[in-house]
């Protein structure tokens, strides 16, 4: 019988010796080459971190493969980044190239550091999510296949570029504050199942879950269900998250939105929310070539046009969104203009300062 409430294992028991010795007294770091960080302590000790790319969905045997590399070159010590990259930790410079070779031998690219793209943060998608408007792992694989040169350092950018994907607007991860993101969306209202609603759902909770108040009780008192206003519904699907009797997934009309220009860092400029650059691209599995085409267009325009150290959002703020749409060739449509709530006005341009 389990003892409960014990919390996680103490991380201190998992630290390499060089980290224990230099904990809190690191002096500086360098990026030795793509995927290899070197941290130097005030003591003069060195720590090498070899960062690799990986899927987020991995089997136990894969983890055992990582363990073998860690055992051979790192005294069994390794970690993961907040973006799912395995990192192998060693104080021995001579082990770095062996780690790189071992990782590459099991198909893992080495990179994700510096002015490029690291792992793409993403959600469960069709693998496991009950509210997806698109897939996650599949599209991420397709995207990273194309953006691979930016991960391994063959191509660089004006600054780091964080990519993420959410299979619906719940955005399970910081998708709303990221340089470039793909978000699954619906474009048709839910189809309420009047027969099952009463058994499966609570009316007040379901109604309260709608950001625009589009749900009301069914006008026929004998039908214990709700109706959805076509004028007010913007197909967010939150009602379905709350109530299984309001399915909203619609294969022909579901797809993705492309978001641009967010960041959580407060470096140089304050944190920024991501903004809608492309309101809708239909799903096209297995590789979503249209989505990839748009992402590459944005990245290549940023690469050419931005001045280091600008992040994507900073580049756009400097040139102006009119120039972003012009230089990427993406259409600016009415769906790009905010119309939700009191905050919408803040995004309107209260100035005559614009570029032609």
């Amino acid at each position: 019988m389990a003892i409960t409430d014990i919390g996680p294992p103490d991380f201190r028991n998992h630290l390499p010796e060089v980290i224990k010795k230099n904990y809190g007294t690191w002096k500086y770091h360098e990026i030795v080459k793509p995927g290899v960080l070197k941290h130097v302590g005030e003591s003069g000790d060195e720590l090498y971190s070899v960062r690799v790319g990986s899927p987020k969905l991995v089997c136990t045997d894969f983890i055992r493969d990582l363990c073998e590399i860690a055992d051979k070159y790192c005294d069994g010590k390794m970690r993961f980044t907040s973006r799912y990259n395995p990192e192998f930790l060693t104080d021995k410079a001579e082990n770095v190239d062996s780690i790189i070779a071992a990782a590459q031998a099991i198909g893992l690219p080495v990179g994700g550091t510096g002015r490029g793209i690291s792992n793409m943060v993403h959600t469960q998608g069709w693998i496991h999510c009950h509210t997806p408007a698109t897939d996650a792992s599949g599209m991420v694989k397709a995207i990273m296949d194309e953006l691979y040169p930016y991960f391994v350092g063959e191509k660089t950018l004006p600054n780091k570029l964080k990519l993420s994907l959410a299979c619906c607007i719940n955005m399970c991860g910081a998708i709303h504050a990221t340089d470039l993101a793909v978000v699954g969306v619906h474009t048709k209202i839910p189809a309420v199942n009047d027969e099952t609603f009463n058994a499966q759902c609570e009316t007040p909770t379901t109604m309260a879950g709608c950001p625009t108040g589009a749900i009301r009780r069914h006008p026929d008192k004998d039908i214990k269900s709700v109706v959805v206003s076509e004028e007010k519904c913007m197909y967010c699907g939150n009602c379905y998250t709350i109530c299984p009797s309001m399915p909203i997934a619609n294969p022909e009309n579901d797809g993705v939105m492309i978001y641009v220009g967010g960041k959580t860092a407060n470096v140089r400029t304050p944190s920024m929310l991501s903004r809608v650059a492309v309101p809708f691209i239909a799903n096209n599995p297995p590789r979503w070539p249209e989505v990839i085409g748009v992402l590459k267009t944005i990245i290549e325009t940023y690469a050419k046009d931005a001045r280091s150290p600008e992040r994507v959002g900073e580049w756009i703020e400097r040139i102006g969104w009119e120039k972003f749409f012009e230089r990427t060739g993406l259409p600016f449509t009415s769906q790009c203009i905010d119309d939700f709530g009191a905050g919408a006005r803040a995004s309107l341009r209260a100035s005559t300062q614009f570029k032609w």
Binding site: G7, D61, R79, N170
Partner: protein
């Protein structure tokens, strides 16, 4: 003729493929390896039909806990019998995601004894995800984990598994010990983690500096972001090294300082206007050998970040500009408990704390916290004149006598 042509297609290309992982799990010694085979086939169907095939999860759990396990059932169990139940269990990760190979193998062995062999290292919040088992195995997994010193993560209207950046274990930027802090509060608030007591989810994330490598500013109701109160430190010998290697310090560093606090004076880089520095980390990021944070370290406590549901995505805002972060973090814990009590008492079901603050006013929140208003909490004061004095007396005339001159 393959049953899964689109999945096979996604094994091609340079990026390591999740399809390879699923296939490997399907051939592994995991107890429910067959369910991984079914998973791949259902994924092919989902791709063909362009829709997900999972039902809403029912309530499943383990003894003593109200969360950490997500129930999941497939819509077509007759076609994919291995997926009839395919629940997910969250395992609280060690802080900073530091592991030993022994501990990783422990997790793999436990999971292979009970499930599909598929995992996420890690989930978005930070837990290890055991992906795919049935209801009969949930308690045995919890028992096996506990025996080896592991615990379940959280879900639902609880404190979600706290996470922190790599901090002082590796990073010279860390303004406080993010790892010790996260480990400490995770253990202190086990009750709030395992038995959901709140109106909705709440998250604590700790980043050692404003680079914010755990994206606390974007998704944490209570971000704790490392900072310093004194001055950053410049080593001009190292500045010269960067210059000699070709860096244009004037344009890259000085001109990019958001508040023009830096200057080149007689060929040396100086913090000419120290009080203008907003500790944005730009100069430090680009010259880590030459510039270091100050030594009077602590953290800024913010409130309210969240994803779009319900009223839109929100970035966190400043509540406490500076807090010393010393174990056992009493000041932080008292603040957090007070904030959570206020939210619990005043929040509606499924209302995040940011939305409650939007509903009642930020000044109502800080009054309830007994925190004095400071300009660091706002970009600029209100423009509209609709001020609620309510029971508070407007200032008396005498208070302004001192300005007469």
């Amino acid at each position: 003729m393959s049953e899964t042509p689109m999945m096979d297609e996604l094994e091609k290309g340079p990026w390591p493929s999740f399809v390879t992982q699923i296939k490997r799990a399907g051939e592994s010694k995991a107890l429910m390896a067959d369910s991984s085979k079914d998973l791949l086939r259902q994924q092919e169907t989902a791709f063909r039909e362009k829709q997900g095939l999972w039902k809403h999860g029912g309530i499943v759990g383990v003894k003593g806990y109200g969360g950490g396990v997500i129930g999941r059932y497939h819509m077509r169990p007759e076609e994919y019998p291995g997926l009839e139940h395919f629940h997910t269990m969250r395992v609280n990760h060690p802080c900073g995601w530091f592991y030993t190979s022994d501990k990783l193998r422990e997790l793999c062995d436990i999971w292979d004894n009970h499930g599909s062999g598929l995992t996420n290292f890690h989930g978005s919040t930070g837990d290890v995800i055991f992906l795919g088992t049935n209801s009969d195995h949930l308690q045995p997994i919890a028992d096996d984990l506990s025996e080896k010193g592991w615990d379940i993560g959280s879900s639902g209207s609880a404190l979600r598994t706290p996470t922190g950046c790599v901090g002082p274990a590796r990073c010279e930027y860390a303004g406080f010990d993010t790892l010790d802090f996260i480990h400490d509060i995770t253990n202190t608030f086990q009750d709030e983690i395992h038995r959901p007591p709140f109106p909705y989810k709440t998250k604590i994330k700790a980043s050692g500096c404003c680079n914010d490598c755990v994206a606390a500013m974007g998704r944490s109701d209570t971000p704790v972001i490392g900072t310093w109160r004194d001055e950053l430190r410049i080593d001009n010998d190292a500045v010269k090294e960067y210059m000699d290697s070709g860096m244009n310090v004037q344009t890259l560093i000085v001109d990019n300082c958001p508040t023009a606090a830096l200057e080149m004076v007689n060929g040396k880089l100086e913090l000419a206007r120290a009080e203008d520095c907003t500790r944005c980390m730009h100069c430090i990021n680009w010259m880590p050998k030459a510039i270091r944070p100050g030594v009077d370290k602590g953290a800024t406590i913010l409130v309210g970040a969240k994803a779009p549901v319900l009223d839109g995505a929100v970035l966190a805002t400043v509540v406490i500009p500076f807090m010393k972060m010393e174990p056992p973090y009493t000041e932080f814990k008292e603040y957090w408990e007070k904030a959570m009590d206020w939210w619990d008492e005043n929040g509606k079901v499924r209302e995040r704390i940011a939305e409650l603050i939007d509903r009642v006013g930020f000044d109502t929140f800080i009054k309830a916290m007994d925190i004095e208003p400071v300009p660091q909490m706002v970009w600029r004061p209100r423009a509209n004149p609709y001020i609620f004095w309510r029971d508070e007396e407007p200032p008396k005339l005498d208070e302004f006598k001192k300005y007469i001159h």
